[in-house]
């Protein structure tokens, strides 16, 4: 399994849909996940996304991504749980009291975060950057420089993660222990590495921009790409399925 936003070139359902269209669908699903008013609606969107990922060979990635987002949403969960005063108290913790309404909103917030983020993360994991950039130019008539800037930004994240891993390996070889359990001590080891790493990534991005310009990047037009991205029957089916699922999520 590749990194979080890296495409491994599979052949499932998500891979087959037009790159621009699937990004639009993912955004629609994400917005809907925030807009639905019930836990079941948000859960439905999240489960449908995981099912679509499973049939695209991305089941493991979907589950691990959902768990990662769940970890991130713990903070929001706790804040929501402790700050909502409405409803009937379930547990009294001195200054704070946990209510049934607080628990409901906390669960909904966590589920909404998962349901909103998962579609976009999975779509990006199932789309080559070049296909996305070319399709944005071909289908949505976005100038290549903007499409390319967007995909380069997306590449920046896995690039940074990979460089970080390399730096940490090098530091481990010098005896730095990153395996320590104490999160504060661990952060104290990692934070000083972040700034030089960011600077080196920015420098590399600048050099990449020069390299792209030297290869005629600014001359690129809509019809230049080797591959074409026409919309077809499978795309119509994807839009229809998405419309049905999102409508159902609002009804539930």
């Amino acid at each position: 399994m590749k990194g979080l936003l890296e495409c491994d070139g599979g052949k499932g359902v998500i891979y087959a849909v037009n790159p621009s269209l699937k990004v639009i669908i993912a955004f629609a699903a994400g917005m809907s996940a925030f807009a639905v008013k019930s836990i079941s609606g948000a859960l439905f969107i999240a489960l449908f996304t995981i099912a679509a990922a499973y049939f695209s060979g991305l089941g493991k990635k979907a589950v691990s991504t959902a768990l990662l987002i769940a970890k991130i949403s713990i903070l929001f969960f706790v804040i929501q749980l402790l700050c909502v005063r409405r409803g009937n108290p379930i547990l009294n913790l001195g200054f704070f009291s946990i209510t049934d309404a607080g628990l409901y909103y906390a669960v909904m917030m966590a589920l909404k975060l998962i349901a909103a983020s998962l579609p976009l993360v999975l779509v990006l994991s199932a789309t080559k950057r070049s296909d996305l950039a070319n399709s944005l130019v071909y289908n949505l008539h976005i100038p290549f420089k903007y499409a390319f800037a967007l995909t380069t930004t997306l590449n920046f994240i896995p690039g940074l993660a990979s460089e970080m891993a390399q730096v940490m390996e090098a530091q481990k070889a010098r005896g730095v222990d990153f395996e320590i359990k104490n999160p504060i001590k661990k952060a104290a080891l990692i934070v000083p590495l972040c700034l030089p790493l960011m600077l080196s990534c920015v420098r590399r991005t600048e050099n990449s921009a020069i390299a792209a310009q030297l290869r005629g990047f600014e001359l690129r037009g809509r019809g230049s790409a080797y591959k074409k991205y026409p919309l077809g029957m499978k795309d119509a089916i994807a839009v229809l399925a998405c419309a049905v699922v999102l409508s159902a999520a609002f009804i539930l």
Partner: protein, 278 residues
């Protein structure tokens, strides 16, 4: 093909001249080597030819650089792109796509070449550098040498009139270096002008037709390769490690056993030794 006149350059924030009054003429069809120790100005010289200096790397620029009749100061680097292809030393940052195939297609697509021609050119470039088997591989999974070849193939596919290479063998082992330079010699024989900065003087003296020696931004010599290689004192003064055959001929000359030119390849070195033995 390339005419450099009294070129001096100081990078923004720098105090020392990276290039100091360099003049150079690279004739059409030449295989031009640029040699020198670290920080001698090799990379800056090549960047100036490609238009990167001063368009992307700012600084104080004096003199003129003309590439195929175009003044690089007035032309944007992308205008020069189809005439002069540049492959820099920092290979990682020059590979901007996800796979080898996409990388090679990138420039060809930008110049809106017909689709069948894109495929033909990409396949030929990969074949020439023996990376056809890497076609679908992700760039991040390649070794340093494979990345170097990919960057070069992406540029060769564009068929520029001039190929500018900054230390192209940096990540390559001796056998791969030999293959790379054989491929470059083939391109040169087909009419492409090549200018390359190289740390390995032994490689340059085998393949290059002309050489420039730089030291602290100044050009100590610019001449046909045999003439430059015969001046071993100048090479030592520039901090260039002599190839073993040049070292040997230099010592034999000092001993009064040999009076010919520095052997440029192993056959010439064998001939030199045979001559002395007889």
């Amino acid at each position: 093909m390339i005419k450099i006149e009294n070129l001096s350059f100081i990078y923004d924030g720098g105090r020392k001249k990276a290039l100091d009054d360099v003049s150079l003429h690279v004739p059409k069809g030449a295989f031009y080597g640029v040699a020198g120790a670290s920080c001698s100005g090799k990379s800056t010289l090549l960047r100036a030819v490609a238009g990167i200096v001063p368009h992307f790397m700012r600084g104080r620029f004096f003199g003129t650089v003309t590439v195929a009749g175009v003044d690089t100061l007035s032309a944007e680097p992308q205008q020069l792109a189809r005439t002069a292809g540049f492959v820099g030393e920092d290979i990682e940052s020059q590979l901007i796509c996800e796979t080898v195939e996409e990388e090679i297609y990138f420039g060809l697509e930008n110049f809106a070449l017909p689709h069948d021609e894109i495929e033909v050119r990409a396949a030929a470039a990969m074949e020439m550098l023996s990376i056809a088997s890497l076609r679908g591989r992700r760039i991040s999974s390649l070794s340093g040498g494979q990345k170097q070849k990919t960057a070069l193939a992406a540029m060769i596919a564009l068929s520029p009139q001039i190929l500018i290479l900054d230390n192209p063998s940096a990540e390559l082992d001796p056998a791969a270096t030999e293959n790379l330079y054989s491929a470059l010699a083939e391109l040169n024989a087909g009419g492409m002008t090549i200018i390359t900065a190289e740390q390995k003087a032994g490689v340059l003296c085998r393949f290059a037709t002309h050489m420039t020696i730089l030291k602290e931004g100044r050009a100590l010599a610019s001449a046909p390769v045999q003439q430059v290689m015969d001046d071993t004192e100048l090479l030592r003064d520039a901090g260039i490690m002599l190839p073993r055959r040049a070292e040997l001929s230099s010592r034999l000359k000092a001993e009064g056993l040999y009076s010919g030119g520095t052997p440029l390849d192993i056959q010439q070195a064998a001939g030199m030794v045979k001559g002395i033995m007889q």
